[in-house]
Subunit: 297 residues, 2 copies
DNA sequence: CGTCAAATCGGAGTAATAGGCAAAAATGTC
DNA sequence: GACATTTTTGCCTATTACTCCGATTTGACG
């Protein structure tokens, strides 16, 4: 059981008994996972599913293009879209990072947004990733959710409701509009989102920016513009990163060899894959796998 | 004492009494050696130190990439950089190759160049190896040097001056500029030379072209370009040849075994070493050593 | 300060190389 | 002559090198 450094951190105390290893721990509640990391993790690219991430102890820092996103016990993360970005995690054996992640199920989201009605007049352009100041309401909701995780019975009977509470708080919060925009097609934003969704489903296929622009009903140049506004990278870059991250999973978790991984994510040229991989992650594919394996052993 | 075939070859007559075996003979003057070879030596890779080489009898032919460099009694060789190249020697028992080699001491060179002042306006790109037509001045200077070698007393009192004369003639000659460029950093040229120097000192270390390019303050592609311009091979090739030649010395002279030699010059994989050696020298390492030992016995 | 030419950079495809493993071959040893 | 050891070869995968080319920068000159 990881240690909780600070006294009086209720959430950390509740989470801590539930995890026993670094990384993501699943819970009895699908869509809810626990984060733990007892060491410093240098800035590295990764990809989160749309989710809410609440930090109980430690802190994280995300880099999306030129934006820096801090999250810590006083700020939770609203991740609306599954964007590739880079993340640095601050944790130590004495005070590991502890947190809880709640996946944003589109169906649930849609239902809730519709039920809540459209209190439109959107304050600002929706951000696909944003750090939001913690509120009392959210704090309470998360704490209740975390407590529920201790009992399998409570999970099955009350789990959905606990999750609902948390999401409700998020919808009320600063970034509620961003989530709303996801559900109610909101002009340009949702057209780009559709394209992103397509990329995520078919990342191994070949795409031309032109095709994508057509799909979004925009000219290539406007498409490029809006795309970059949201993802902070160009379409081609986005796809490349997506592929590389997927390939990394295949390499490190599914024990594919470099050939297979490269092919599986749509690379035609293995050398090209190797180079891109090295540029993005800092070291070439196989070496990376060896290191990772060495860490486990 | 080797025979001097042609009548009236003053230099050959002076040198000939000083040598009594094939190969390099050292003299009382450090940095000055005598060459003798009474048989034909097929084209084989080797590495000279920066030096002046004056042939008194017979001839040699150097191959540096696509360039051919002839040297014979009418042409002396100015070797500015220690480049791996290939060399064929024409000699026979009746008329062995005879020559004299004067090492180019960087300190001496530097001193002389500075003293002579920079008569810049460089005629052409400096060549790291070049054959220069013999001049009367050089002929005289070398002859005087050679005569001095006969007397240990003269060596110790006048040796330095005699060497100085020879180097002075070289500096005045066609390739003087190449030597000057060595001392006075000359933009790209000297940046590449620095890298070469590093390679020669640390040839057993691991290098990537990328690193080297950084050291030379160039992009990889530009680095490639300039490197090849000077050495007539690519960086990786150059390092490989350097290592193989060093390994050859260890094998043939220092009686290392193949393992040791391979490791000592930076090969991680012995099989790879064996392959490369064979490609470069025509036959695998051990066989080569055996042949060489057979020749001596 | 703008213009043109030359040098340089960075990307991408092709080719070559490194290094691992295993087996064959050669060598030295008893 | 059989065995143990060293060396060589073959094959395979992953990585790097090499080279060309378009884009960009640099630098000299007007």
């Amino acid at each position: 059981m990881p240690s909780t450094a600070q006294a009086g951190n209720a959430l950390a105390d509740v989470i801590s008994p539930l995890v026993n290893s670094d990384g993501m721990t699943t819970t009895h509640l699908s869509g809810v996972s626990l984060l733990c990391l007892s060491r410093h993790q240098l800035r590295t690219p990764l990809l989160y599913e749309p989710s809410l991430i609440i930090i109980a102890q430690g802190r994280k820092m995300g880099y999306l293009g030129d934006r820096e996103i801090h999250y810590d016990p006083g700020h939770y993360l609203v991740q609306t879209l599954p964007l590739p970005f880079e993340c640095e995690t601050y944790g130590s054996p004495a005070a590991p990072l502890l947190g809880i992640s709640v996946r944003l199920d589109p169906a649930l989201l849609s239902e809730m947004v519709t039920a809540m009605g459209d209190a439109s007049g959107h304050s600002q352009a929706p951000l696909p990733m944003a750090s939001v100041a913690m509120t009392d309401g959210m704090q309470d909701a998360v704490l209740r959710l975390a407590r529920a995780l201790h009992s399998e019975t409570e999970c099955s009977t009350m789990g959905a409701a606990r999750v609902r509470d948390v999401v409700f708080e998020a919808l009320k919060g600063e970034q509620g509009k961003a989530l709303t925009a996801l559900v109610l097609g909101h002009g340009n934003y949702s057209r780009i989102v559709q394209v992103l969704s397509r990329l995520h489903t078919h990342y191994a296929d070949e795409f031309s920016v032109e095709q994508l622009a057509v799909q979004a009903n925009m000219s290539p140049s406007t498409f490029h513009h809006h795309f970059k506004q949201i993802t902070r990278t160009s379409p081609a870059q986005y796809l490349k990163r997506l592929r590389l991250i997927k390939a990394q999973q295949l390499l490190l978790q599914d024990n594919h060899n470099v050939n297979q991984a490269a092919a599986a994510v749509g690379y035609r040229s293995i050398p090209q894959f190797s180079r891109d991989y090295k540029r993005y992650f800092g070291e070439p594919p196989l070496q990376h796998r060896r290191q990772e394996q060495a860490l486990r052993a």
